[in-house]
């Protein structure tokens, strides 16, 4: 495509995607596997881990989520969402074979190249595992790039854990360490994981900060309490990454919703280091 053709494109026009599979993850939480309806579009499509898109339920509107699958898995993308608002509820009503829209990929990426040769610790809470799932699979698929990989994942209850099958698979792998936890009272008989809040668990396992990158994603309160723990373990501010999800309408740096400080989360984010995040006003 020439530059001029590109400029005359309708940047608001989504790809049409067919729902190839639906997985119920947790109450109200679903994963869609989406395949392009147009083979040429599928061929040309590329993304990197950390990027997001806007998913359309036609007739209701668009909603922003990360791409939850790894770019190393070709031919489809996956997204995981909780039925909360107008669009996510409409998406929740869709069946396999239905058509949804997708615009993207947008935003910046997790700098995997930069992480080569380092230990990685992923810390996620609740419905915030999907953005990290993309990068976790990506790292596992490039396993020899990295040293130790640890995943700490917590949810309120056992039922609220997403990607249960994959957690099982990760738990069995010998080339990574998975720690799952549920909030006190969220356990049930037979639960073999830990019981306790994510920040406490991170403190317990106390990963060494040397040559290690921490990637944290979760509800604001979890992030707020986890960061001091990581600081205590002497993680540097440029070695802690997170991903923001501000409300967006365009994803293209125009509609103004995600603007926080000088940053447009859709363009400069969603991936930020703690050092970058601290420069922004706390409007996210």
């Amino acid at each position: 495509m020439t530059a001029m053709e590109k400029d005359s494109q309708n940047i608001y026009k989504p790809y049409l995607m067919r729902i190839a599979a639906i997985t119920d993850e947790a109450p109200g939480v679903r994963t869609f596997r989406l395949e392009f309806t147009d083979a040429r579009e599928a061929e040309a499509f590329q993304f990197k881990t950390g990027q997001f898109g806007l998913y359309s339920a036609f007739g209701e509107g668009e909603c922003t989520f990360c791409i939850a699958s790894s770019p190393t898995r070709k031919g489809y993308i996956e997204c995981t969402f909780r039925e909360t608002g107008r669009v996510t509820s409409a998406l929740g009503d869709k069946d396999v074979g239905d058509i949804v829209g997708f615009r993207g990929p947008y935003g910046n990426v997790f700098p995997l190249e930069k992480w080569k040769g380092k230990n990685l610790i992923f810390v996620a809470g609740g419905i915030a595992l999907p953005p990290l799932r993309s990068v976790i699979w990506n790292c596992l698929d490039l396993r020899d790039w990295f040293k130790d990989i640890t995943v700490v994942y917590g949810a309120r209850t056992v039922n609220d854990l997403v990607y249960k099958h994959e957690l099982e698979e990760w738990g069995k792998r010998t080339d990574m360490k998975l720690v799952t936890t549920v909030d006190p009272g969220g356990e049930r008989p037979g639960w073999t994981g830990k019981v306790g809040f994510v920040p406490h668990i991170v403190e317990q396992i106390a990963p060494a900060a040397a040559n290690t990158v921490a990637i944290v994603c979760g509800p604001p309160i979890m992030i707020k309490l986890t960061l001091p723990v990581l600081a205590k373990l002497s993680f540097g501010k440029t070695e802690i990454y997170t991903t923001l999800e501000n409300r967006m309408k365009c994803g293209l740096g125009k509609c103004g919703r995600c603007n926080t400080g000088r940053s447009y989360v859709c363009k400069d984010g969603p991936v930020y280091t703690l050092a970058e995040l601290e420069k922004l006003p706390a409007e996210y």
Partner: protein, 335 residues
């Protein structure tokens, strides 16, 4: 360098006629029931020469509701229909220089990264003929934001009133030259020095550079709560503003077909940043007011090397509770 001509009082009418005959629509400030609106201008007498329109002329390039695409359902499939903007060739005639400058502030957002074909098609088809201000009011502050009442920036042709009647026409761009070519007789050679009616006096209220520096340290200052206490949280300021660009995208559909619309939106409205979960990054009106000020006077200059404000004062005039932006900015630039 601009080409300079003289247009007689009656020449303005002839020019409007000639533009109309060329198939372009002429929009301009027009007095309707004691209000000034941007509306179709059929002859020179309809042009409001004093005061400003309430709503800016930005609707010409960024309409308040515009179609981004259509779709229809065919069984389980969806057929998308990419729409082209209905960008009628337009001459904005007789707007104020501040409005003419405002298009740049829209342009930087619509084109800094992805290119917005809707905006661009409309902008490419719009020619701006501004008339320099010889009067200003208490809300005007163009001189505080790097401009002046007779600023030619952004105007394809700038008209300045002559003491002897008629106008001095400064033709600044090729689009302007195309209008000259439509009515060559109207544009008379300039006989020596033009004797202009003096431009309006707008006393500078603050220095935008100083303001930008002060804002850097004022984010948590109580001034934003104090200033916004009377703010009602409506969107009047943003919707009349010539540079406010924030928008929403909304689907409207029935069982058979639908369309995706872009509508004006405002950071002052509570819903703007409200998440479906109930979390709102800017939950209080003071935070939203601060965002409005910072976006225009700190983030724009930092990011786009231009201010998100042209000092037209429309927001202050439209505000139901008299939030006077000039005063508020002057206050923020102090101390």
């Amino acid at each position: 360098m601009s080409d300079k001509y003289i247009i007689s009082e009656s020449g303005v009418g002839s020019l409007i006629d000639a533009i109309g005959k060329s198939g372009r629509r002429v929009l301009g400030p027009k007095e309707v029931a004691e209000r000034i609106e941007i509306a179709e201008i059929k002859n020179a007498a309809q042009l409001a020469t004093k005061g400003q329109s309430i709503v800016s002329a930005k609707g010409t390039v960024f309409p308040k509701v515009e179609r981004l695409m259509k779709y229809k359902y065919e069984g389980k499939n969806i057929v998308l229909d990419d729409v082209d903007p209905n960008a009628a060739p337009t001459v904005l005639f007789g707007v104020r220089p501040c409005e003419a400058r405002a298009f740049h502030a829209l342009d930087v957002v619509f084109n800094w990264d992805y290119k917005d074909k809707f905006f661009n098609a409309r902008l490419a088809n719009t020619t701006v003929v501004a008339i320099g201000c010889t009067e200003a009011d208490a809300s005007c502050f163009c001189t505080s934001v790097g401009s002046r009442p007779d600023d030619p920036q952004g105007s394809d042709i700038l008209l300045s009133r002559l003491k002897s009647g008629g106008y001095l026409a400064e033709v600044n761009t090729d689009k302007g030259k195309a209008l000259v070519a439509l009515a060559k007789d109207v544009f008379q050679p300039l006989p020596g020095v033009a004797d202009l009616v003096p431009a309006a006096t707008v006393a500078p209220a603050f220095d935008a550079k100083v303001l930008e520096q002060k804002l850097a340290g004022k984010f948590d200052n109580p001034v934003w709560l104090e200033q916004s206490l009377r703010c009602l949280g409506c969107g009047a300021c943003a919707f009349v503003c010539p540079t406010c660009v924030c928008f929403s995208i909304e689907d409207e559909a029935d069982a058979r077909r639908g369309e995706r619309l872009r509508t004006w939106d405002s950071c002052g409205l509570r819903l703007f940043t409200l998440h479906a979960s109930g979390h709102n990054p800017r939950d209080k009106q003071s935070q939203r007011w601060r965002q409005r000020v910072y976006h225009k006077f700190a983030y724009y200059p930092d990011r786009f090397k231009t201010l998100g404000c042209v000092g037209c004062g429309k927001c202050s005039r439209a505000c139901p509770v008299d939030m006077n932006l000039k005063q508020h900015l002057a206050q923020a630039a102090e101390g």
